[in-house]
Assembly symmetry: D2
Homo-oligomer: 481 residues x 4
């Protein structure tokens, strides 16, 4: 609901800004006022009046779209989706391909078939790139389609067409890497605040701390959307692998001398444009930033992330709830956990530890994790650390996505492994924010990017499904059921 | 021959500049040194080692290409052209389209067929966009293909693929309009000198004169080729329609106050990148510049060109040579022409004008035009003016391209008419340079861009083949055989 | 105390930023480590080792200064002040002036005397301009002198020298006017927040509201202190004269279309650099901004301020406390005020209004003004409005500064009147913030800048002490005791 | 004569550019049209109408000045020079200084005397800084004064005042170092062509060669004259000390890889603004550029010039003409020279070498140097090389300026020695251009800037008059008469 509002908000703000430009262009369109949306689209495609006229028509359509409510927008998109390729032309072109006898004839026939297959709606979508802020309009349009389509196959086809176009236009070769710091325009920094979803930016002071001299922030931009970051990464320049995001974000911590840092920690990567979902640049961003940092700071010896494990808690709860949950931890571990806990009041009242003793290990673990703020109870935390760390190592290295047995179940793990990183270290109490406790049981991971091995690791993971990890992690994950 | 050298020169200069970057990238490619070009292309497409690795492979291929001689380059391109779509996959995909029963199934099948038809060579060409100066490499590559293909259908198919990609990337929505003046980088101005082909820039002083305060120069740029103009237009701000390009380019003429100009004369438009042939921006450029100038200089009332008529002389010579040449001018006109000429010495010697009198009108005209510097002989020029002007009006308004009866025979006329301009005036002795005399018999045309009628004119010409013109021109062209 | 801390803070921040640069330079100074500050100054003046060496010495001195505590800094400055001109040289040069017989000899002698009079400490101060951030160092140094000198005549002389140098360097001809908006660097906007003292900026949202499309903000910068605004003005584009600063600063108020505004309201002007006290640019800033706005927004018809009256409350309290306070308001006014008040509880208890009736009018006014939040009590406010407005008009137009009988007592009034503005309107409840109530009894003034009359008004005020005002204001101020 | 024209040209071009701005400002000055220049100056000083009005008056004066012919300009300047300090005020202020008893009183009295001595003309000159392009106006004004004053003591005093002001404003701390290359604006490069006086730039190709990747060009700019270089230096990045300027400027020589250069050769330094004569930045420029180059190109090991010896030929001719010329070279040297020459035809005719034998050594040398193109006659050149090289070494190390016995007679030698360079090498046939042959007998010098010794050398030369040189040079110069 709030997402919907926000998304509408994005389009509507764009509306305000470009509204007068679009209105001026729309006013120059000659033609009956009673034209339906479909008529207008048809006229736009017919190209009457030349390219300038077509541009004005596109502006008129864009403005019309923004003026509609949700129902109206869905109708608009369904009409647009209806501009499909001509079946007869496709059939004839297919026949020519089938009948072609020599290679040149075949090549020509195939070229024609490709053109016959190109649906007019794709040309119409392309028209929007010619109007001011047209690229942002299309990106936001796809974001809206993703939200609205909800099983509507007609819209799905249109969304797929648009995704193809955007993938083409947002090819990484077109992107510009820019550094963002405290001298960047406030309007841009405001967008960072809005788009940062991994570790929310709470105040301008928090933001300033993330842009200080011992920090770096880089984003990709597209020349046709110059005010909009596409993806950005926040980096801390530190000594040794960082283990706690709370310490990294502590505004009162003294500023470090970046020239003395030996490690660059990528602690937050955020995609900014929902409309570019599935068109990934994260991979390139990290490698480009590694290159830039290495050039600027020769003291850097290691590049690593400090990452959440967003699927860990849910997976653990599911396993504990399921029958085989019992296999997750041994009776010895459970006993140690129970010993660390103060005796439950009820239990005491009821005559001692008998009730508790009847618990299965899984029940014990569930009971402990249900305690609010357990991570602050030192004895409990001490007992939990080896258990959760071990389970986490197993989760990261052994558990597979339901869709693909070679793919890590955790989405962040999958992202970094497919980029060529390896699992380097699991950090106990790495993120004790509410979100960190809820999603990752407070744990965080360092994924290490070793420039010399990125390609090998990438190949091993993508090709064979191998998940590279530090020896200690590998040991922990061994003997997994 | 000199073009060839020049074209090679362009690529080779690019080579020098990016050579070290590409070499560094190529050096990072792992793989046997004995790989053939085809192996390398295959590896590049296989995507082993991730996108960064693919980029390095693309750099290696580009560098390899530049290292080849003409023979080698043709081989390279033929190998590349061979990476075609898989016939079996295409057949299966076509069958699915044919067999689809419901609309959704059909949409999905068509999508698959489009993907199956996409030849791998297109993906390979796209890879080059990811390397430094890769876009310029591709543009120059197409320029080279156009030169080398020479009937080779395999290369023609590849060239066509590349044209499609470039048309997509150089969509006018991606272009940036920039003003060029005497404060622009010398490196850029040097390129203007190099690319100006309509009225050659002879010296830096000539160039400076064209960038003075009563002149404007605008160019389109692409964000991925930021140092390279794609097309540029030179504009003079004057009072009334300009009639002579020599007067416009006179370096000693006093500088006018641009605020007092009432007319903007577009006197030179140049495409800079041969590799973008057939992907037109000239249309948009003129209209954008009209918009910009109108905003800056409210005194401007008219926008017109001062254009050559490059096909006029050749057409005239052909007609005069052909039998029906006699119909081009009347006996009265011929008599007037003869009277303007001094009696030929031989004729005199041979006893008077008898010989001349036996000439057909066409022969008389041919004889006169063969006189070097006739335009400086006042009596001759006076007699020729009405004849040539009339013939030129007819040529512009009545003669059709051999390929298309609705299309003006003169290419410059076709360009401006299809942009929505009209033929406004023919200028006697408008360009008396050697080139102007040879191609256009010294004549120039003003094509008028009337913002209020551009679209109507465009439609009339493109739709119905009507050629809008000022009344005087229309009268001259009437009664044409 | 907080000022002191702040001022130290400013210097110390500068210290951190440039510290490494200065340290590097200082390290290159050759010379004994036991040199006293005085020795170092002497060496710096002697110019041994050329200009580069002198620069390093200046950096060393600046760094030494920043390393000192308050005592040490005072000593440093006193040593520096001691580098005075040579008495003997001055005496001889004076004699030559006295003895000069012809004009040329006199001119030469006077030139020599000027040079003889120039104290070496001035050359030493000038040296600091050559080091990185040296200009900011000198500006902050003067700020510190102003704070520390406290009657010390030696420091006063030095401060006066530095003021003369700064006045020279910060001549308005050297300043650059820049617009500041939401696209400005966050680091700069942060400084606005820090320097805004008239109407404090509470949050980034407040700031953003002040930089929205219906607002303007302009600042002067100096090329040698490019990151530091010297003075800035905040402008609202509105319809009609603004009457309430709370309404102007309301973040929830809808954004207006600037093209429809007819009035530019200058509602906050802030000097940013204490070290430039007495070197005024405010005058120029307003006139430059009037020029810029007039060019950009042809709809603007009036330029006015919405200004506090910072001396009004204090003056009123003083007058009410003094004997002649009784003349400030009439018995009728006092009666009306009393009637508007609810009967005091004690008075009621003591048997009615008798006690109150015994009050003088001055006592009544004092009693009312002492009521917290009186401006929200409608009957009280209604009764007070004519009284306070009348008193304010008199204060602005009739009361003189103790130092100068021709000068308005209120400093803000003096500033605008000497710039050529006139008193246009007094706004009841124009600023009901705590500060506004305390200093100005909630009143605000519009000073009108009429471009056609600025010079006349300026002359009248500066020359004859006339204070231009709207008729209504003049009437109110008439009949003043 | 051509200088005069050029100088006028400079001012007049400025006139055209700013004319409309100044005219608009001048038009806003209220006041009688019959005001004399003196009245206008008086009004400008009186400050009536505030600073804005004063600015308009300054613009009016500047415009008036530019409208005058040479006579009128001299009158204008003499009137301006007449605005002298008030003699009575100076007398009183001097008395107060004389009578001051305690230090504070003295300090105050001296401050007042300084103010009393400041002539109003200085304030008037300062006013011009507030108008657009005012700083350039003042710089060009001083250039014109230097040309026009010609012994006029009144103008000399004014020129001296202006020099003092300019020295203050153009303090090196205010200057910005910028690199100039082929991507710099053509308008700026055109100025390089205009200002280069050491080795004239003949064509744009020559210019481009000097800005290629193995060259560097740096200039100082002032923020108030942003389009005007003040001084620039051209640098070649080479291997080993360069010995021939013709080789450096050869456009056909292959471009070197700057990363492999070990030596930076400063081969041309040009002051651009005649109006800044005597206000030197060359010193700082070289040292700043040494710093910048060292940072960018770690391979650089040596920094040296390749400099002309502009006074050598004239000095030599004078010495040869004078009686003691005979001591310049020995009879042995003369004999060797004579042997290298072909026998003179006349001599031959007259019966052999008898006539020649009667020559003194000085006459022989004179005779040889009078031969056009002697440097191309190998035997002659071989014989001359040791003689001229030895004489040049002596000239550089032993000969003193007439004004100062500690100062090198050659102005370029003096410049580099006082900057801390040493005489490193004399290059035979280093500059065989017409100018080089005429002024320096074809010789050039390398002055070496050794960063580690710059300060010592500077001190030795400035303090004690020692001229540091390489051992070989010192040996050559020894035993000098």
């Amino acid at each position: 609901m709030s997402d919907l509002a926000e998304q509408n908000g994005l389009l509507d703000r764009a509306l305000r800004r470009v509204t007068s430009l679009w209105r001026d262009m729309a006013d120059r369109v000659t033609g009956s006022d009673e034209e339906t949306i479909e008529d207008q689209m048809r006229a736009c495609l017919a190209g009457r009046g030349g390219e300038v006229s077509a541009r004005n028509r596109a502006a008129k359509l864009a403005q019309a779209y923004l003026g509609l409510d949700t129902e109206g927008r869905i109708d608009f998109l369904r009409v647009l989706a209806g501009f499909d390729s001509d079946p007869a032309a496709v059939r004839i072109a297919m026949e020519r391909v089938a009948d072609a006898t020599d290679p040149e004839e075949l090549a020509t026939a195939k070229g024609r078939l490709r053109r016959a297959l190109e649906p007019p709606r794709v040309r119409l979508l392309t028209q929007f790139t010619t109007i001011p802020d047209g690229m942002k309009f299309l990106v936001d349009l796809r974001a809206e389609m993703l939200r609205l389509m909800d099983g509507d196959k007609r819209l799905a086809v249109l969304e797929n067409d648009l995704k193809g176009l955007l993938a083409n236009w947002f090819d990484v070769g077109f992107l510009e890497l820019k550094r963002i710091d405290w001298n960047s325009p406030a309007a841009l920094l405001e967008k960072l605040v809005q788009y940062e979803a991994v570790h929310r930016i709470r105040t301008w002071r928090d933001l300033k701390n993330r842009l200080d001299s011992d920090r770096r922030c880089y984003a990709f931009f597209h020349p046709r959307m110059p005010d909009e970051p596409l993806i950005f990464v926040e980096v801390a320049l530190v000594k040794g692998l960082a283990e706690s995001v709370q310490r990294l974000l502590d505004e009162k911590a003294p500023v470090q001398d970046p020239a003395r840092a030996d490690t660059a920690i990528f602690y937050s990567i955020n995609n900014c444009q929902r409309g570019l979902d599935g068109i990934s640049f994260g991979n390139f961003l990290i490698k480009r930033v590694v290159g830039v940092l290495g050039g600027e700071l020769p003291g850097l010896k290691a590049y690593a992330t400090l990452s959440p494990i967003p699927g860990f808690s849910r997976w653990l709860q599911n396993r504990l709830a399921a029958e085989e949950g019992g296999k997750l931890l041994s009776e010895e571990e459970a006993t140690a956990l129970r010993a660390a806990l103060p005796p439950p009041r009820d239990a005491e009242a009821a005559g001692g530890t008998a009730v508790v003793a009847a618990e299965t290990p899984a029940e014990t673990l569930k009971r402990i994790l249900a305690r609010r703020g357990w991570f602050r109870e030192e004895p409990v935390a001490r007992a939990l650390e080896p258990v959760l760390t071990r389970l986490c190592a197993g989760y990261l290295l052994n558990e597979a996505a339901s869709s693909n047995p070679k793919r890590a179940r955790d989405p962040v793990a999958h992202f970094h492994l497919s980029n060529g990183a390896r699992v380097e270290r699991i950090n106990w109490r790495g993120d004790v924010s509410e979100k960190g406790m809820k999603e990752s049981a407070g744990l965080m991971v360092n994924y290490l990017y070793d420039p010399a091995r990125i390609e090998d690791y990438h190949e091993e993971y993508v090709g064979e499904g191998k998940r590279p990890a530090a020896t200690a992690i590998r040991k922990l994950a061994r003997g997994w059921a």
